[in-house]
Amino acid sequence: MRDDLHDLLKTYEGRPAAVSGRGPDPVNVPMIRHWCEAMGDTDPAYAGPGPVAPPTMLQAWTLPGLGGPGGEAAGRTGPYRELMALLDAAGCTAVIATDCEQEYLRPLRPGDVITFDSVIASVSPRKTTRLGAGHFVTTRTEIRANGELAGTHLFRFLKYAPAGRAGDRPARPRPVINRDNAGFWDGIAARKLLLQRCDACGRPRFPWLPGCGDCGSPEWTAVDASGAGTVFSYVVMHHPPFPAFDPPYAVGLIELAEGVRMISNVVGVEPERVRVGMPVVLEFVRVDDDLVLPLFRPAGEEAA
């Protein structure tokens, strides 16, 4: 498949990512100490009189941190910023580093002034990863100390469109269907709200269970509920938000005309107008391609 974006991205290969970049701070003892504290590194070469910097700090000396003017992009070239902007515009707004290859040519010591030049080595075709789809960008950087080559650094990162970002709303949770309640969900698929009625004592029950809670009989018959009910109790959910739902919304305990209660949403009315005792009627709502749910809305003149 032709990848127009990749064709464009590839034109940035070989172009500079940083030209005569300058490390914000010369190599210094406090930053070395903070690094060693964080890493738990007690190598005596990095402490005491005449320390060297841990070689793996190489990249850290080049990073702008929160930066001054220009922030994170400080010191980056026009082509590099353009490449990042193209990827951002393609939805690839997130970054995760994947590879780091460093060679240390000479130790870095306090007082060394760090300068660097970097080139965009490659931009991969679009790849799909667990985090999302995007492009791998590789840069190659030469780091100098007081003008002398001190190390090389190949860095690869994935610039990707996060899977599951706003707009790709997660689906509502699926019902857990087992042999005890399969009949109920078969009924829903056929747009029927089925209750169980005990064959021995005649008591209706809901939710579906293998035996009667009253007399213990395992014999039962499915009966079609009328769909009429009243709000026995309810809550309006504001917090915590759940990704598949838009708060606020009303969750009602609905007492059906048959005498059993079920939990469902009360829809078709502002959540704050739901009241205990409010008459409601059943409505089957298709919430997505694979799921129909029995919800309730106010009956008669209560309807919004």
Binding site: W35, A38, M39, A45, V52, Q59, L63, C100, E101, Q102
Partner: protein
């Protein structure tokens, strides 16, 4: 004194608890203010379940592991790592290494120094967090600290 390492030797492992503090301290010490390394909400918005360790901290831990096991006096020459599954808070990173090869250090004219190439693997509860290769000048075969 421990005997000089030979190809095939397995280095003792290093266990690193991946605390939230380590992740944040490592990110800040490495000057990496990407929000995914300190802001859990921002990390979730970008598809991760929580903050995760930045590559510079992993690199630093790999370097520490090698010099801890082969030093003091061991000097890192090359560190190449590739990240796999992330290091999330509450996990444990187990670093293991084995000597691939030993060779003379061509960089020193006298040829007295020996370089070890070490294969490193770091695993956590999710799988392989890091695989890499480290080239290190072994102690006792050259000055512990280069003179400039």
């Amino acid at each position: 004194m421990t005997p000089a390492p030979e190809p095939g030797d397995v280095l003792p492992s290093l266990t690193v608890p991946v605390t939230r503090t380590l992740i944040v301290a490592g990110a800040i010490a490495s000057r990496d203010y990407q929000d995914v390394h300190h802001d859990a909400e921002a990390a979730r918005a970008k598809g991760a379940p929580d903050i995760f360790m930045n590559i510079l901290t992993t690199n630093g831990l790999v370097g520490r592991y090698i010099t801890d096991r082969l030093g003091p006096g061991a000097v890192l020459r090359k560190v190449s790592i590739r990240l796999g599954v992330p290091n999330y808070p509450g996990d444990t990173l187990l670093l293991t290494g084995s000597i691939n090869s030993i060779c003379a250090d061509e960089r020193l004219a006298e040829g007295a120094a020996r370089l070890a190439e070490v294969a490193v693997v770091g695993t956590n509860s999710l799988g392989r967090h890091v695989t890499g290769t480290v080239t290190v000048a072994l102690p006792g075969t050259r000055p512990a600290r280069e003179v400039s």
